[in-house]
């Protein structure tokens, strides 16, 4: 074998070694990324399952029967009456005032309330609503519905949602 041929052979072997090295590096890199992806997927699956579990728990705790039971004891909301609905934009426009100074495109609705009756709360509910408890715990004034009504009346501006059937013109 001539020295050139020997050199060429060594060259080929070195090239092969270098390429194999590159290949192995690439292979390990790919494996590393792949396992990271798999781990991320597993985490996504586990988080999705956790989310599902928590959502289900939330839905279970807030199911229709539970809400009805809470309403019966704590809130006493009853179905809205006809007077609590505004029918169409015409009725809403009847409550409109030019609220903001200048030519603002925002329209305001306002209803003056002289003696706003309490929101339709069932009588036996107020006793168990736990307002006194709230005072003892927080040290704040009782957040009575009537107080809220009075505040609203003195400010002269009532949000439409709070009108609750007591709309007076």
């Amino acid at each position: 074998m001539t020295p050139q041929a020997q050199l060429r052979r060594i060259g080929w072997i070195a090239l092969l070694a270098v390429l194999t090295g590159f290949y192995l590096m690439l292979h390990f890199k790919v494996q590393a990324v792949h396992s990271e992806v798999v781990r991320a997927e597993r985490r996504i699956v586990s988080l999705e399952q956790e989310k599902l579990l928590l959502a289900t728990e939330f839905e279970t705790r807030a199911n229709q029967m539970q809400l009805a039971a809470w309403n019966q004891v704590d809130f006493g909301y009853v179905a809205p009456t006809a007077a609590q609905f505004l029918e169409g934009e015409r009725q809403l426009a009847a409550l409109g005032v030019s609220g903001l100074p200048g030519s603002s495109p925002i329209l305001m609705a306002k209803a003056t309330v002289d003696d706003m009756p309490a929101l339709p709360v069932e009588a036996d509910v107020e006793d168990v609503a736990g307002r006194v408890l709230a005072v003892a715990e927080t040290g704040e004034a009782p957040r009575d519905l009537r107080l809220a009504t009075a505040t609203l009346a003195s400010s002269g501006r009532v949000p439409l949602a709070a009108l609750a059937g007591a709309t007076t013109e």
Partner: protein, 573 residues
């Protein structure tokens, strides 16, 4: 090498030398070939690996996640997407005495103290019983379902033997709500409700990623069950049934049969309650059939003038049988008056004029001769008199006796009567917006319009007064039928029904409320009839569900009664 060119005899000493040389050459050639082959193979392997990495591999890794997230059984939701049934991996509490792997005591603390701690987390578990099971050293479930926060508390006890495996579980977040509509699942098989009806669809791997939307609205269902429960307790009834039906599409908005079972905990008692009173139990629904008779008469042209009067103060004698009223309201009554006062005598005379053949045809068109149309597996077959109806049978059927149908039959029939006359099958699956089955015409549109006025007048001036929810223009008919018992009807055991629709100026929904064997209590003014139990339930229910279904109360609107109010001695409201 020329020495080989010219053949000449080899000396014996040269022969092995040539042989060795040839052999060495051959070995070298084979080695080169093998080496080259190995290189080619290596290069091919590397190329294939590259191709594999680039083309094939990413695909399976993405489907693996989709597989893991694919539920074992499809979800059931209500029409607004609220989950009604869901399969998800839940925690269970498993006792594994071998967890410590040291062959000694399975628990670090004493079984008694661990049992105490577990009982503190799960108040419904018995500490002594638990201690016994922990001490026995046998593995097994301590609890099938554990909430995540309770699972954390169990982990805090610090016992390795208490394991919390995650198991796939069918859960009904709304508890008992719509139990008869949903049914339950045991060992992967659905029973009773839509779980049974849609079993293949729900378990199909190709489809179970997509939830199935039912037609019911969980809020309406909640309100219906709440009011039915309340009404049932007030009148001490043994059972109750209710259904809310969209008159234009046949979609069931709510369906309840009380007492209910809990699909999350099926037990012996639950099994005894799976019978669906709305779709499976047939009842003689009594006077609620009277409007159907009048509609048949209007349609057949027997009543061309609503002011026409029939005698109403003498019982009709048919052989030994006598058709009579509980109270006499006058010598003669017209059809609207007969409906308002619920007169058997007048209704029977009207049916007699319509004739048995026509009556049978109308009742058949309303679906009373077959099982109700609904997806549920449990559907009761009506008691439907076959053959030609004799005259007396026709007359009793006109006021709802001698024929027994399910409350769902009645709901579909009322929907056809008020929606302009088209009968459509009821469905528990949500229909796409604006789509409804074609249905079949049973009544003329004009008949339907007349009947809406009459139904509204019953709720304004007649037996349905207690159902008149302000602003909702409810119309409907009461029906209180005696239940058949040994040797005839039992006078004191009633099935009280109120069949109604709202708003009558443009009917959208039919509401059927039925109480099985209500008692006379203080709440019902010691009355057992539908006017005192089922009708007030409708009055409480409709304002709750109306706005949810897009029907708003309006006291300025009313169906036009100008042409009929004078017939019942009222000036138009």
């Amino acid at each position: 090498m020329n020495s080989f060119a010219a053949p000449r005899p080899l000396t014996p000493a040269r022969v092995p030398l040539v042989d060795r040389r040839r052999h060495a050459l051959f070995t070298a050639q084979v080695r080169v070939l093998l080496f080259g082959g190995a290189f080619v193979l290596l290069a091919a392997a590397a190329l294939m690996r590259l191709a594999w990495l680039g083309v094939v591999q990413p695909a399976p890794s993405t489907t693996s996640m989709a597989d893991a997230l694919l539920p074992i059984r499809a979800e059931l939701t209500d029409r607004n997407g609220v989950t009604l049934a869901r399969a998800f991996p839940a925690y269970a509490l498993w006792y594994n005495p071998q967890a410590l792997e040291d062959g000694g005591s399975p628990l670090v603390k004493s079984p008694q103290s661990v049992a105490q701690e577990l009982a503190a987390i799960f108040p419904d578990m018995d500490a002594q019983d638990l201690a016994k099971r922990l001490a026995s050293g046998k593995s097994g479930y301590l609890r099938r379902r554990v909430l995540p926060e309770d699972a954390n508390k169990v982990m805090e006890i610090g016992e390795l033997a208490l394991e919390l495996p995650r198991e796939t579980d069918r859960h009904y977040p709304q508890g008992q709500l719509a139990a008869h509509v949903l049914g339950y699942v045991q060992d992967g098989q659905g029973y009773v409700g839509m779980e049974a009806a849609l079993n293949d669809r729900l378990a199909n791997p190709a489809q179970r990623g997509q939830p199935v939307a039912l037609s019911i609205d969980s809020r309406v269902q909640g309100a219906l069950e709440d009011e039915l429960n309340r009404g049932m307790r007030m009148v001490d009834a043994v059972g109750a049934a209710g259904v809310v039906l969209d008159v234009h599409t046949g979609e069931v908005m709510a369906m309840a049969s009380l007492p209910e079972f809990d699909p999350n905990h099926m037990d012996q008692e639950g099994q005894s309650r799976v019978f669906n009173k709305v779709t499976n139990q047939v009842y003689e629904l009594g006077s609620t059939f009277k409007p159907l008779t009048v509609a048949a008469a209007l349609d057949a042209g027997v009543i061309t003038d609503l002011s026409r009067r029939w005698q109403a103060n003498r019982p009709l004698a048919m052989g030994r049988f006598r058709i009579k009223d509980t109270k006499v309201y006058g010598a003669t009554l017209n059809a609207p008056q007969a409906m308002i006062h619920s007169s058997n005598i007048v209704t029977a005379q009207i049916a007699d004029e319509v004739g048995p053949a026509r009556m049978k045809q109308v009742m058949g068109n309303l679906g009373f001769n077959e099982r109700p149309y609904i997806e549920l597996p449990a559907r009761g077959f009506p008691i439907w008199p076959s053959g030609e109806w004799p005259r007396l049978r026709n007359m009793t059927i006109s006021y709802g006796h001698g024929i027994a149908v399910t409350p769902l039959h009645l709901a579909s029939a009322y929907a056809a009567m008020v929606n302009g006359g088209v009968w459509r099958p009821a469905t528990l699956l949500k229909l796409p917006e604006g789509e409804a089955p074609r249905g079949r015409r049973v009544f003329k549109e004009s008949t339907s319009a007349q009947m809406n006025k009459i139904l509204r007048m019953i709720a304004l001036y007649g037996t349905g007064r207690h159902a008149d929810a302000p602003g909702f223009r409810v119309g409907g008919k009461t029906g209180s039928a005696e239940k058949p018992g040994a040797g005839g009807y039992r006078r004191t055991t009633l099935v009280s029904t109120f069949a109604s629709a709202f708003p009558m100026d443009d009917p959208q929904y039919v509401v059927i409320i039925m109480y099985d064997e209500p008692k006379g209590t203080v709440a019902s003014s010691y009355q057992r009839t539908a006017a005192w139990n089922a009708a007030p339930t409708v009055k409480r229910l409709v304002p709750r569900i109306g706005p949810l279904l897009g029907v708003y109360p309006d006291e300025t609107r009313e169906i036009d009664l100008a042409s009929v109010a004078h017939l019942v001695g009222k000036s138009e409201k």
